[in-house]
Amino acid sequence: MKHYWFTEEHEMLRRVVREFSEQEIRPKIRELDAKEEFDRSILDKMGEMGFLGVCIPVRYGGAGMDYLALGIVSEMLEWGDTAFRETISVHVALNSLAIFQWGTEEQKEKWLIPQARGEKIACYALTEPNAGSDVRGIQTRAVRQGDVYILNGEKMWITLADVADHFLVFAKTDPEAGHRGISAFLVERGAPGLKTGTIHGKLGARASNTGWIVFEDTPVPAENMLGEEGEGFKIAMSALDNGRYTVAAGAVGVIRASLEESVAYAKQRTAFGQPIANFQLVQQKIALMQQRLDVATQLVYHAGWLKNQGIRNTRETSVAKWYATEAAFASANDAIQIHGAYGYSNEYNVERYLRNAKGAVIYEGTSEIHTLLQAQYALGYRKDKPLRRELPAYDPEEWTREA
């Protein structure tokens, strides 16, 4: 389906990322998923091609594409598997774009450029063992001592925890000040007292690296604070506007894959002397997948278009993430039903889609959080105030300018 907002560049990008997923991810994914293995060689290839700086201006080491391109990359990677879309979500959307939005020129030079070039891998450390949706409940502490802050605490469910070189860490600098007491820090692997580990036994996204991070008296130079002291909550939330966008776009990829595989299977599987595609109850499931694909696509790329224009999109991104991830879970579930007993085994992809899709209705704002957000917007209880620094609009001339 052609969309009015996609250019020839977007269509070419879609073809190339689909081919990449087809050739580099799909042939290996069943084994990687079974073994809970993160394949670094795929990440390295992504870095060489420009995935890791897709929507970062050329002068900061990126490819100079726009936010729609970020959505396309997320969608077509997750069409292959959730693992490598998650990489884009944390490395590009949650970390690199946060530096791009909030960082000083010195910080962009030091942190953003090597990340966009794929030389350094980045992640986002907000969630803790006792604080997920309740961000203001984080317990990691940062105490200023001269030119450094000393970090103590623990982070949990952090994508790429054991892979990343750079960490965007949120910690309380003023525990009495609620969400205004949170600050953001850029931390490098190798910092004293920083330890990471991998969590095993996840239901889905098993080929992704998810782990924990511990800070024990970890000194972080004061110059590594992103934004101002006490601005961490706003930085975390604005980063989630970008992270959620990639999660939503990835969910479109799950719906697309579920639909494509259901159509192919329904045409070749026969029952009662004819292809099961002829049966209306199978057709109903396929029709619903098509409907979800179209609706989710519209919601996601509308949010991407708003980002390109530099228009605040917290509400639109939230509704896209809420709808698309629930639609992905429902579509994967329907795809299994169409595949029958075969769909229940890992001989086909669809059982993996269901396991993967479940994660996305939990992380980056549970469906319940998004339900409440939408109600609050509709009731007028919530309004987005302008930020000190907004996400830059896409400026094709400026972003593609070579140094």
Binding site: T7, E9, M12, E19, F51, G53, G64
Partner: protein, 265 residues
């Protein structure tokens, strides 16, 4: 050095089985089109030769507007520029008409030291365009090339893939080289190149530009006409269980079956 890659836009191989003979004859296949997979190896080799020996790599194709997509893929992989050859009079060209247009295109573009192409196209499957181009240009022809060993002193040295091994041969430049998939592993385009390639304006050379008259090209000049096209019959799949008292007897029966019934050894 100048390397020119001749490529064709063909249906995606995954979609080839969907095309009916009627659609194929009408030229309206209604499926996703890609760079002919064999030609992708030629594009990759053209870029590698530029990286090894310096110079420029040009992608060239004959076809209507939609072929720009394939040429842009070649630009995204690393070709320096692209040229499309098209005129309504080219419609319906056979292998020799196509070869003539391509040869004229190479000449008009200022010639080339090495002209690369894939061993065949996945749709037409003639594998004869390279021969035709070499013939029309009056230059060396090297087919089944699995490795380009060297280019120096006006000569090119290549390894050709034969049924039972490889042979190394030398030929004077310019040369037309048709490659096999063993020659390399085509690269993915980088995102920066995709961005630039998608904005490229590809020049088109017409029959007049190439000095060709309608009686030399297109359906009118075609020496080969496709009168009928049929799908090959579906492959027969059969399982044969070789019975026997002992492994030796089973082996003897199997050998007999392979030699005398299936005649595969």
């Amino acid at each position: 050095m100048k390397f020119t890659v001749l490529l064709k836009q063909t249906p995606d191989t995954a979609e080839l089985p969907k095309i009916t003979p009627e659609q194929a004859l009408a030229g309206n296949q209604g499926v996703t089109k890609v760079v002919n997979p064999w030609d992708e190896y030629a594009v990759e080799e053209g870029i590698r030769l530029k990286e090894r020996f310096g110079g420029e790599t040009v992608a060239m194709s004959m076809g209507p507007d939609e072929v720009d997509e394939a040429l842009k893929s070649a630009l995204a992989m690393g070709c320096d520029r692209a040229v499309r050859l098209w005129d309504e009079s080219f419609e319906g060209s056979d292998v020799w008409g196509t070869a003539l247009v391509l040869a004229k295109g190479v000449e008009k573009d200022g010639g080339a030291d090495v002209i690369l192409t894939g061993k065949m196209s996945v749709d037409g499957n003639s594998g004869a365009v390279a021969h035709g181009v070499a013939c029309k240009l009056g230059v060396s022809l090297l087919t089944q090339v699995a490795k380009i060993v060297d280019i120096s002193d006006g000569m090119i040295t290549v390894e050709r893939l034969l049924d039972e091994g490889r042979e190394t041969v030398r030929a004077p430049l310019p040369a037309v080289v048709s490659v096999v998939k063993e020659i390399n592993e085509p690269r993915y385009p980088t995102f920066i190149r995709i961005r630039k390639a998608s904005r490229a304006k590809i020049p088109v050379l017409t029959a007049a530009d190439l000095g060709l008259s309608p009686d030399q090209v297109g359906a009118a000049a075609a020496k080969v006409k496709w009168t009928e096209l049929v799908k090959p019959p579906a492959k027969k799949r059969e399982v044969v269980i070789i019975e026997g008292e002992t492994p030796e007897e089973k082996a003897r029966k199997l050998l007999d079956y392979l030699m005398n019934v299936e005649k595969v050894i």
